[in-house]
């Protein structure tokens, strides 16, 4: 009697395919189908993962265009500030070296400009030093000037419409005065002081002062040497300071400090010279650093997402970024003081 052998082995020892039984065939068919779907799902998952990695590896802001002044023969002299007028699709740039404000379309084509003059010590008009800009809900231009303490409200042609005066002690342009500007969705205007004074004044949409908050100082929750101010979609106020413990601080609408992040130390998420801030529609907070030549991007909770830029004059690089602006959606404008240009970028 021959010894038993496995069904797939001939008496001669050769392996043969086992003829599946009907039930085995069905089981195999099910198995094969399931295996194929598994492979397909795995491949799909791998593709998705690769796509995600690729997307994550792409810069958060993609350079779109850049412009250097009215034209190549009339470059910017000393960019003070930048604002995006989403209503008219324009980018406004203040040039305190040329004492003017110029408007460009999003492709960098000059649309117009106007000289900004302010009263001198003897009352006669003199060339101003326009700096920070914002656009209010009526499309008017809010402009602070380093020679005066107030904010000028101007129409699109640069003609004065109103003035936002600051009370003492912030009415002395040599010690304080209006600096960074922001506008809330309801039209409320926030005016941050410049210099070591650390206060934020609140004006309603009819340009009446309705309040103020902020305690000058260097500790957490205090303000000093404010370089930028922006409003998040959920109406919190983001303020960047040069001389406080945290470079970036977030306040509620009443001015109570909610959180701060970014200290004066090396490493991602920290700062050497926070020079400007803006917020996009998704709540991401963009903060420029004029010494590190980067824009750092944080989520709405203050967690670092990415650093954009690096030193240079190529697309997506910066030379002393000094101001940021956004249309509230995906368009970003980055002003560079040494690069002497405005870079327009698309936030991803």
């Amino acid at each position: 009697m021959h010894p038993a052998h496995p069904p797939n082995v001939t008496p001669h020892g050769r392996k043969t395919a086992v003829a599946p039984r009907r039930s085995d065939a069905r089981a195999a068919e099910v198995t094969a189908s399931a295996g194929g779907r598994w492979v397909a799902a795995s491949l799909l998952g791998l593709l998705v993962a690769l796509a995600a990695v690729a997307a994550a590896a792409q810069p958060t802001a993609k350079p779109y265009t850049a412009f250097y002044g009215r034209d190549l023969s009339v470059p910017f002299m000393m960019i003070g500030g930048v604002a995006v007028d989403s209503l008219h699709g324009e980018i406004l740039v203040s040039d305190n070296g040329r004492h003017e404000v110029a408007a460009f379309d999003t492709n960098g084509v000059l649309l117009g400009m106007f000289l900004h003059e302010v009263p001198g010590p003897d009352g006669a008009l003199i060339d101003g030093m326009p700096s920070q800009l914002a656009i209010d809900r009526r499309g008017r231009i809010l402009l602070s000037d380093q020679r005066v303490s107030w904010v000028d409200v101007l129409d699109v042609r640069g003609r004065p419409v109103a003035r936002l005066d600051l009370p003492a002690p912030d009415d002395d342009p040599l010690k304080s005065g209006a600096g960074a500007l922001a506008v809330r969705p309801d039209g409320t205007i926030l005016v941050a002081t410049r210099g070591d004074s650390g206060r934020v004044y609140v004006f309603d949409r009819d340009y009446r002062r309705i309040g103020a908050w902020g305690v000058p100082g260097a500790d957490s929750g205090q303000l000093s040497a404010i370089t930028g101010i922006a409003v998040t979609p959920d109406l919190r106020t983001v303020v960047t300071c040069l001389k406080t413990r945290y470079a970036v601080q977030i306040f509620d609408p009443a001015g109570a400090c909610l959180q701060g992040f970014g200290v004066h130390d090396h490493g991602p998420g920290n700062f050497s010279f926070p020079s400007g801030v803006t917020v996009t529609a998704d709540g991401r907070i963009w903060v420029s650093d004029g010494l590190r030549q980067v824009v750092q991007v944080f989520d709405s909770a203050g967690t670092l997402v990415e650093m954009v830029g690096g030193a240079g004059n190529g697309p997506g690089e910066f030379l002393n970024p000094c101001a940021l602006a956004s249309d509230g959606r995906e368009l970003l404008a980055v002003a560079e003081r040494v690069g002497n240009r405005i870079q327009v970028m698309r936030a991803r």
Binding site: M78, P121, Q146, G177, G195, F273, E306, V338
Partner: protein, 366 residues
């Protein structure tokens, strides 16, 4: 263990410097190393595919692993920003009365604002020898004049404006007091972070010498030497009257200018009547005055004894410069003079002369 960690965190966070606090002028924990230095000069490119882009230096590698060349690095903060003293051209904060005035940039290194010329004071990147210099210092032919030729980039706690006291300035102290004066110090800042001419005054710890002038003449020799020397004339101990050697320039050493009998020609003046036409009395009557040194915390003493006031370099020049040639301050200061700026309140050099001197037709018809 948790408590220890928490305690250590509190200590660590408490030790972190506030964001770029001025007032201690770069000294101690004010700045962080990586603000200006790059750990590895190889960080000259960014990494677009990693998502994280480390801050890359501009060009380079630069000396001492700096992120940029020295002047550009200094100007990253000190030009065009409102939160730090702006020392180049027009002030970003709108200040029009900076005690030191404004630097300019040599051709090819930026555009100077309207009104500022390279001959109007210290010019960054300029390779020219200093006016009056005898070779003690000449800027590097390639890099030109740099901020760090005069200022200590890491600060010197005791020196006014971090001016150097080493190298060619070895041993030349220029001390200062802030908020509360100390007449043994050379400079008085009326408040911390004071940069305007209204907030800075100059003491005279040694009435026969100006340490401020002694510092400046390290490079700018041959201008205001010592009494009895060819640059100044006069006699050691002081005399400007004929037939003794007259002064040819304002002395800044060896003589107490205020007590010189030559002021009135009739001996050392002791009462106000002797000062009717004297230099110091004329200065006293000015509405706007240039800066002078005073030994007794009083820069406008009683008319009976204005002799104690002494001019020095800063009386006539802005340390950095202004819109006038050589940084001269055209300060007339007569009745009705406008509020002065960094250039003074007048239009020409004769206005400066008239701060103290009264001769010439311009004195009668300015």
């Amino acid at each position: 263990m948790k408590r220890l960690v928490l305690l250590l965190m509190v200590v660590y966070l408490g030790a972190l410097p506030a964001m770029a606090v001025a007032g201690d002028y770069h000294v101690g924990a004010t700045l962080v190393c990586t603000d200006c230095h790059s750990l590895h000069a190889s960080q000259s490119h960014d990494y677009p595919w990693l998502g994280q882009q480390p801050p890359a230096p501009v060009g380079g590698p630069h000396e001492y692993l700096l992120r940029q060349e020295p002047n550009a690095l200094c100007m990253s903060c000190h030009d065009g920003n409102t939160g730090v003293p702006d020392v180049v051209g027009v002030s970003a904060s709108g200040a029009t009365r900076r005690q030191a005035g404004a630097l300019t940039l040599a051709s090819g290194h930026g555009t100077n604002p309207t009104g500022y010329e390279e001959t109007d004071g210290h010019t960054l990147y300029s390779a020219l020898p200093p006016p009056g210099g005898t070779g003690t210092f000449v800027p590097d032919p390639v890099e030109g004049l740099e901020c760090i030729n005069c200022h200590a980039q890491h600060g010197i706690a005791t020196q006014y404006r971090n001016l150097l006291n080493r190298g060619i300035f070895g041993g030349k102290s220029l001390t200062y007091a802030a908020s509360t004066n100390d007449i043994t110090k050379d400079v008085f800042e009326r408040s911390a972070l004071a940069y305007t001419d209204q907030d800075v005054d100059f003491n005279e710890p040694d009435q026969k010498a100006s340490r401020y002038a002694n510092w400046c003449k390290t490079c700018h020799t041959n201008f205001h030497g010592t009494a009895g020397g060819p640059e100044v004339g006069g006699q050691s101990g002081g005399s400007s009257t004929e037939p003794d050697n007259p002064w040819v320039r304002h002395p800044n050493a060896d003589v107490n200018i205020g007590t010189d009998p030559g002021l009135s020609g009739t001996g050392a003046p002791t009462d106000s009547s002797s000062f009717v036409s004297s230099y110091v009395n004329r200065y006293y009557t000015r509405i706007n005055r240039v800066k002078v040194m005073a030994p007794n915390n009083n820069w406008l003493p009683a008319p009976t004894d204005p002799r104690v006031l002494t001019p020095s370099c800063f009386s006539c020049h802005k340390a950095h410069g202004n819109k006038n040639g050589f940084g001269l301050i055209f300060m007339n200061g007569s009745t009705g003079s406008p509020t002065p700026s960094e250039e003074g309140d007048g239009g020409q050099y004769k206005d400066l002369c008239l701060q103290c001197h009264s001769q010439g037709s311009y004195a009668l018809n300015p």
